[in-house]
């Protein structure tokens, strides 16, 4: 459903952020993209919905060649690609509900957006999603009054409001504490399964990637150096991606080993976030 072929991006400064990235994903699943800072993870994600214009190569989502689209068609295609950010990127002065509904901006008319008169089904879907991400009762709270974990939950709700086929997730947990990180990642993975989306997650934390991803792609200096399942990530693989280091403590040993705080997660989700 997503095929990326020979994608390159060279910035005007001459930096080659992507040097011919290719991979293909045929079914909805969670794919983690790992790699050191500057390996091109963020550029890759943004080249898919063309927030950054790729230099060459193609991105094909559900038989639609994104890289060939005109501006209007691109906007239409972006509706099917939800995006979640490290810094949440909510519109700070708007309420939680308005932020969630901003996921529908590609679907409603200008006047509907101007008057904040969204179709009733959108509003009830937003309520459902806000409840689902653990923010019931928060709909009239302004986004700048929320904690990091709460903001990221709004970010997730906004992305899912788009009814996306593809979720592009850029370092969702890098600004969160370890516990909130896990809760957010778990929520993201659960919802991806529920909504049947393909989810591409840029993530620094190799442990979290192994814990939650069906497939892991390793980037180094703009090139794919690893593509496989979580179990196939060995110390040698991490050395290939990140360089020489003692990786023995990073590799996940027992699949469900460090999950002990997960069951209480749902109950304490709101309190902790």
């Amino acid at each position: 459903m997503l095929t990326i072929t020979d994608l390159t991006k060279t910035y005007p400064t001459g930096t080659a952020a992507l040097k011919g990235v290719s991979f293909s994903i045929s079914e909805p699943q969670v794919v983690a993209i790992i790699g050191p800072s500057g390996s091109g993870k963020s550029t890759l994600i943004r080249c898919i919905n063309r927030l950054i214009e790729p230099t060459s190569g193609s991105v094909v989502l559900e038989n639609l060649n994104i890289t060939k689209l005109g501006r209007r068609q691109l906007r239409k295609a972006r509706r099917r690609m939800g995006m979640i950010f490290q810094e949440y990127n909510l519109v700070e002065r708007l309420t939680v509900m308005e932020n969630a509904l901003s996921g529908r901006l590609g679907y409603v008319s200008f006047w509907q957006a101007f008057r904040r008169k969204f179709p009733p089904e959108d509003v009830s879907k937003a309520f459902q999603l806000l409840d689902r991400v653990g923010l019931e009762g928060y709909h009239d709270t302004r986004a700048d009054a929320l904690s990091g974990g709460e903001r990221q939950r709004v970010g997730i709700a906004r992305a899912l409001m788009q009814n996306p086929a593809l979720l592009l997730v850029d370092e969702p947990t890098a600004s969160l504490d370890p516990k909130t990180s896990r809760q957010v990642m778990r929520l993201l993975v659960e919802l991806s399964k529920e909504f049947g989306t393909l989810t591409l997650v840029n993530i620094h934390d190799v442990g979290l990637a192994q814990m939650f991803a069906d497939r892991i792609i390793g980037l180094r200096l703009g090139e794919v150096v690893f593509d496989g399942t979580a179990d196939q990530v060995t110390e040698q693989v991490l050395t290939d991606i990140y360089g020489e280091e003692d990786w023995s403590a990073t590799i996940r040993k027992i699949p469900e080993g460090d999950d002990e705080d997960e069951d209480e997660g749902e109950a304490t989700a709101k309190a902790a976030s």
Binding site: N49, L51, R75, K76, A77, R78, R79, M81, G82, M83, F85, E87, Y88, N89, L90, V91, E92, R93, L94, E98, S102, G103, R104, L105, G106, Y107, F110, A113, F114, G155, R158, Q162, L168
Partner: protein
């Protein structure tokens, strides 16, 4: 063994005195002190070339005293002329602020580098810089020459001044917006107009209103000034009293201007306080 080593180490590491200074603004001491000496030298030079005509100051002082004596008590007897002037000034300020607020929106948006293509940005910024480079008085003289004496010239002057002031603030405010929010809304597939009303306007609105109210306050002050060159309002009345040596009426007008500015300032602070 290790403790012995550590002990020996710390003995060997007798702290060597090392110097540290903050980085000076001008590194080279010759330039640094040279600049200070040059500044003082210029100051002395400027003082010596300043031709102060002490005799004129000497004869001027009693005249100033005379004016002040003739100013008191202030003469409020021509209150209808006074209130008409004040009202005209307030109307000039209100009208100019209102049109300035409206015109500043397109100009401000076009002046924000992160929103528009470079040529549009450059044109908008040029307009802002160009109109800012002339003082209100100069613009007022220009409009008085075109449209004649009266409030129309004053309104137009202050519209120009308000527009570029609010537009500049708006443009800078938008440029300082975190790029992430714009990116996120663009990523939903929203068009530019939707980006404008859903992301930019809620983020920029409170400051835009604050700046506009501040400008209204400033316009009340400026409206009294542009009147002096004939652009209507209480300033024009004030200028007339000076030429006719009606100093007691002048004082009455000045007192009213102080009161008016005071009220404007108070109102502006009150509104901006509520906008937070």
């Amino acid at each position: 063994m290790t403790t012995a080593n550590q002990a020996q180490n710390s003995q060997n590491n007798v702290p060597v005195p090392r110097e540290w200074h903050t980085i000076k603004l001008i590194q080279n001491p010759y330039y640094r002190y040279g600049l200070i000496v040059a500044t003082i030298a210029y100051f002395i030079f400027a003082l010596t070339t300043l031709e102060v005509d002490w005799s004129r100051i000497y004869t001027g002082l009693p005249r100033a005293g005379d004016i002040f004596v003739r100013m008191v008590p202030p003469d409020f007897s021509r209150w209808s002329l006074l209130t008409r002037g004040i009202l005209e000034s307030v109307q000039i300020a209100l009208a100019a602020s209102f049109f300035g607020m409206i015109l500043a929106i397109p100009l401000g948006l076009c002046g924000a580098r992160n929103l528009v293509p470079k040529p549009v940005y450059l044109v908008a910024r040029s307009i802002i810089v160009l109109t800012r480079s002339f003082h209100e008085i100069i613009i007022a003289i220009f409009f008085v020459k075109i449209f004649g004496f009266g409030p129309l010239a004053g309104v137009l002057t202050l519209i120009v001044a308000s527009t570029n002031f609010i537009a500049k603030m708006l443009a800078e405010d938008i440029e300082n917006m975190p790029a992430g929010q714009l990116e996120a809304i663009r990523a939903t597939g929203a068009s530019f107009p939707k980006l404008l009303i859903y992301c930019i306007s809620p983020q920029a609105l409170p400051r835009y209103l604050g700046v506009s109210i501040y400008r209204l306050d400033a316009n009340i002050r400026h409206s009294t000034v542009v009147g002096i060159v004939g652009a209507g309002g209480i300033g024009q009345v004030l200028a007339a009293t000076f030429t006719r040596y009606d100093y007691d009426f002048s004082l009455a007008i000045l007192m009213c201007i102080v009161g008016l500015v005071f009220v404007g300032e108070f109102f502006s602070n009150w509104v901006r306080g509520r906008l937070r």
